[in-house]
Every structure is written in C-alpha cells, then in structure tokens.
C-alpha cells in the first residue's frame, strides 16, 4: 500500500475541498519518493549502519522543507496541514529523519514569525532549500519545560552578545549550521542565532538513545560564545514567548510524526496477523487479535483527525495552543499504545526483532520531547478553563 494512501487523499478532500487535488499530487509524489529512497534504508538507520544526512539531503532537494513557507522566501506557500501530513508520511518512512526535519523546520518557522526582514533574507532561503541545517536550542540540563529557570546567559558587550551556559538533549547538535539559542539577558529569556562553527560553541557526545537512533542528540556548551548584536531575534526578553509559539506549531508536527509511526506499526501488524497461523488458522481470525486491530485502526485515524484539526485551527489564525497540545498528547500516547499492541500481536518476534520493536522505541521519545504529556495536560486544562469562563 502506498504511504500516501486513498484514506489520506479522502481526508485532504474533506479538509481542503478546493486545493486537495494539488496537495494530493504533491504528497503522492513525496510519498512515493520516501517509499523508494527512505523506507528501505530505515532499518539500517536504526541499526546504526546508515547515516541520515544523505537521505535528509535528498528530501530537502525534493522540497520537503519548503511546503508551509511563503514563496518570497523560497517556500511553496502551501497550508500547514499539508506540511503536517508530509511529516506523517516521513514518520512512517523513518522517524529519526522526521524528527531531524521537524526540528529544522521549527527554527525556520520561528524565523518566519519573529525574525527581522534582514535575518529572514539571510537565513530562510538556505534553510528552506536545505543547503543549511538548523537546531532548536532551548532545553537545559536542569530546565526543560520550565523555561523561567533557564541558566544560560547572554551578556551585552559593545556590539556583541556573549553567551555562557549549556543546553541539553539538542537534536541536530553538531550537524547543524545554524542554532536558535535561548539565553537570559538582563531583561529575560531572549532568542539568538548562532552560526556554526563558532569557537565559543562546542558539542558533547552523541547521546545513546532508546530509539530515534538516526537523529543526533547531544549537549551544547557555550563558553564566551560571541554573536553579533544583529543576531538577536525580535526583542530582548521575549524569547520565552517566541519559544512557546514555535513549540505550539511543532507539537502539531510531532503529533503527525507519531501518527506516521503508528501507521507503519499497524500495517506490519495486519500483515503479520494475516500470515501467522495458530491452531490451524491465521491469527487474524481470532477475536482477541481482531479487537486489537480494530482499536489500533481507530486510534490511528483519531490521531490523524486531531492533528489535521489542530492544523486547520492554526491556519485560521485563531489560538491553537490547546488543540496542538491535545493532538500531541493524544497522538504520542496513542502511537506508543499502537506500537505496544504491534509487539503483542507479533509475540516473541515482536520483542526480539529490531524491525518490529523499533517503532515502539522511536515513539517512546515523544511523550517527553517538546513538552511532556504532563505539562501539556496542564496547558490544555488551563486554556480550556479560561475559555469556559
């Protein structure tokens, strides 16, 4: 079955009655590209035998990063939901690459929203064409979702800022050409662009993760890292607000990524249940397996609808923070559950075969990364309580 399936196409027709044909053409082509170029290499990425950089480059060349951005900066000007759907497809083809691309594009989104015209002109075209790679550098060893306790500082000296501190669990660290770094000035958390290489910026070892093996994650150290003052994004002291806004959008994308992971785990389960026999018949004929298949399918579709809905609210210009968090909480937990059921259906083979349990290992990251489920539930409740007043 094609990665971009008839189900996807139908959903696109429902959400975008007028543009769906064009969007589906774009996604069909992207899907078949991923099927041929990414999907077959994915097991080797998980095993550490293949690097994601050349695969990511090919995707960039196709125009993967251009989808939701304005044409004036080299984008395609397509709806955010089309981009979210593209990330879902990539999550199916290879979750590590999807994670790397998602972070890269979150930085591009931040620049598009908050950077000056000169900064956009300087950075966006090469980020969107994939000539350069970006990294979102917010989390610290002792502060994750709690941005107020940020310990990294930026001190103004003449026409420069000097950044000191360290950042933790940074995706694309060491590989990226551009780092969107959050550090506190006298006024508060602020957002800076640091070009690599910079003698004041160094990287820790690639962290050994449970899953998402292809994407590089490490600590980033800043020791008297000097950046010109024109690399401040927006206003001093607004960094936490910018980070929050960027993360709201990124959460929709992470939701889509997890729907993609759940989709492939589901597809493999159905194929296995059809062929594996027990007591003289395929296990797909047993009611308890059928119940799992039914629940998995329902969950995947629900996750897809939620991220599409959150995307549409974002596209409308309304506040979408609660919807984005709902999509992320639901889809990441859903994906973990679906991947767990996939292991259960595939029994001993599910537990002992990388090719089957890697999807669970990949999915496991994202109830934590980019806002834990716990913090996002707080956010949803706070927003919904306020909305109901």
């Amino acid at each position: 079955m094609a990665i971009y399936s008839a189900e996807h196409r139908r959903l696109m027709e429902i959400f975008h009655p007028s543009g769906s044909q064009e969007y589906s053409e774009v996604l069909t082509s992207l899907g078949s590209f991923m099927e041929k170029e990414i999907l077959p290499v994915s097991p080797r990425v998980d095993a550490g035998e293949a690097k994601i950089a050349p695969l990511r480059k090919k995707l960039f060349d196709q125009g993967m990063c251009q989808i939701p951005f304005p044409e004036e900066h080299g984008g395609l000007g397509l709806p955010f939901s089309v981009y979210a759907n593209a990330i879902e497809l990539l999550g199916t083809a290879d979750a590590s690459i999807a994670l790397s691309v998602e972070i890269h594009n979150a930085v591009a989104e931040g620049l598009n929203r908050f950077a000056s015209p000169a900064q956009k002109k300087k950075y966006l075209p090469s980020l969107l064409s994939g000539k350069t790679l970006a990294s979102f550098t917010l989390t610290e060893p002792a502060s994750g979702s709690d941005a107020a306790t940020m310990a990294t500082v930026a001190e103004k000296r003449g026409k420069e800022y000097v950044i000191r501190g360290s950042k933790m669990f940074i995706t694309n660290a060491g590989e990226a050409d551009l780092y969107m770094v959050f550090a506190k000035t006298k006024v508060g958390p602020s957002c800076f662009l640091v070009d690599a290489p910079n003698p004041g910026m160094t990287f820790g070892a690639d962290l050994k993760k449970l899953g998402m093996k292809g994407s590089r994650t490490s600590e980033v150290f800043f020791s008297d890292c000097r950046v010109p003052e024109e690399n401040l994004v927006g206003a001093e002291g607004k960094g936490a607000d910018y980070a929050k806004e960027i993360l709201h959008g990124a959460r929709i994308i992470v939701a889509a990524l997890n729907v993609g992971i759940a989709q492939i785990a589901y597809d493999k389960s159905v194929a296995y249940a059809r062929t594996r026999r027990a007591f003289g018949k395929p296990i797909s004929e047993f009611q308890l397996i059928r119940e799992k298949i039914a629940d998995m399918k329902t969950a995947v579709n629900a996750g897809r609808l939620l991220y599409f809905y959150a995307s549409m609210v974002k596209e409308s210009g309304a506040d979408f923070s609660s919807e984005a968090s709902q999509a992320k909480v639901f889809s990441t937990e859903m994906s973990l559950g679906v991947c767990d059921s996939a292991i259960q259906i595939q029994g001993g083979y599910g537990y002992t075969t990388d090719e089957l349990h890697r999807h669970w290992r990949d999915a496991r990251l994202l109830t934590i990364g980019e806002g834990t489920s716990e913090v996002l539930r707080m956010l949803i409740a706070r927003r919904e309580m306020a909305r109901s007043q």
Partner: protein, 255 residues
Amino acid sequence: MKVAVCVKHAVDEAELKVDSSGSPLLAGAASKMSTFDKNAVEEALRLKSAHSGEVSIITVGTVEAKKSMKEALAMGADRGVLVVADPLTVETRRTAELLAAAIRKGGPYDAVLCSEGSSDIYSGSVPPMLGELLGLPYFGYARKVEVNGQTARVERALEDSVEVVEAPVPFIASVVSEINEPRYPTLIQIMQAGKKPMEELAPDAILPGSGPAPTLVASMKAQTMARKKVVFEGTPEESARKLVEALAAEGVLPR
C-alpha cells in the same frame, strides 16, 4: 532537438484485482503512468539537456490521463497533447494511428520515444506500429540512445546479446527500464506543471473518417496456475526419492 514521448495512463497493475472468472476489474481501478514510460520521459529529458530543444508528451486517454501528463511535465517535459479517447475501448492499432496523427500534427520531431510496453497490457506493439505508420526507422529494446548530428546510435538489449545499430534522424525508439533511472520531480516542479501548455485533441479532428477497428480483443483473463498438490510421505530419504522420480516424470529435470 524536438522529442515526442508517447506515454500511457495505465491501470496500476500492483493494485489490480480480478473477479471470480479471472477477468480484471477495470472499472474504478487505480491508475498511474505506465511504469517504463517514465524511462522514456527521462531519456527524452536527457536528450534535451544534451542537445537543447523541447520535449512533448503525447497520450491517448481520458481526462484521467492528464495525471500522467502532469507527472511527465513535472519531470521537465515542456508541453502535453492529449488525444481524448478511452484506451479501454480503443484497440492497439487505433491507438498507434491516433498517436501517429498527433505526432504528424505537432511535428516534425527528431525523435519519438516510447517504452517497450505498457505495464498493464504489455503488448509492446504500439512502438513498431508507429514506426510503420510514420515511415521512420525503429529501434526496439533500446538500452542506450545517442544522437550525433543527424545520426542516432542505439544499443539494443536482446535476449543474449547487445546489438548496436545506427539510423538517420528522425527515428523511433522503445526503451527498456535499464536505460536510466527516472528522476523524481521536486514539489515546486509538481506545482508548476499545471501551468505548462496541455492541448486536447478530438480523434475525429486528427484522424477523420477512420473505419472500424481492425482488431478485436475477444477476452482478457488473469493467468491462472493449477497446482497438483501432491504430498509424498515416508522417511525423508523415501520422500526425496519419490519427489525426484515425480519431477523426472514431469520432464522438469535435466537428463
């Protein structure tokens, strides 16, 4: 260099289902550009980049065929010509006549490229018919196409050998899949493909007064394989011997 590529919007054979009598369920079946046609488009684009010029895509099909046309335009072709007719009701000879008429109308072309056969019907008969109808030299099974000035030099992949042949331009060639690796259009190319010129022609306008179809497809069935399902019992040695004897009796073992 002006190159025409004949493509077919074909039934997607990978998704095709058959009914209980073995007849393919063609109504509503998924469709796509015939697999090897992408190789023909790719080769035309390579000729264009080597010699400059223009690539036209020509197809006989319903409006659905515009999807394949757009895909070829996204790959880099310059214009498309759709002869509007249902390929399921137009037999092979008439398809070749319509293509030849469209080629004459839009020509002259220096080269006409096709694939060796469509991925649905795979009769492989349209390209040689085109050669005959247009009175042009025809290279079948091309695995390499070079044009030097007014001479085309083609390597033909035959079953047990490669034949290198030359003919003057213009010419017709049908390509095999090994000739190249078709490119993927980028997303921006896909979005811009719709803006390229696409002409629709009515069959009567380019081929007036054509008579009844010279051939008729009497039936089309999926291939079936009857299995004998023989089980040999006994010790492994005995079953192995019985198996070898049975295979020998079938005549499938070398003597």
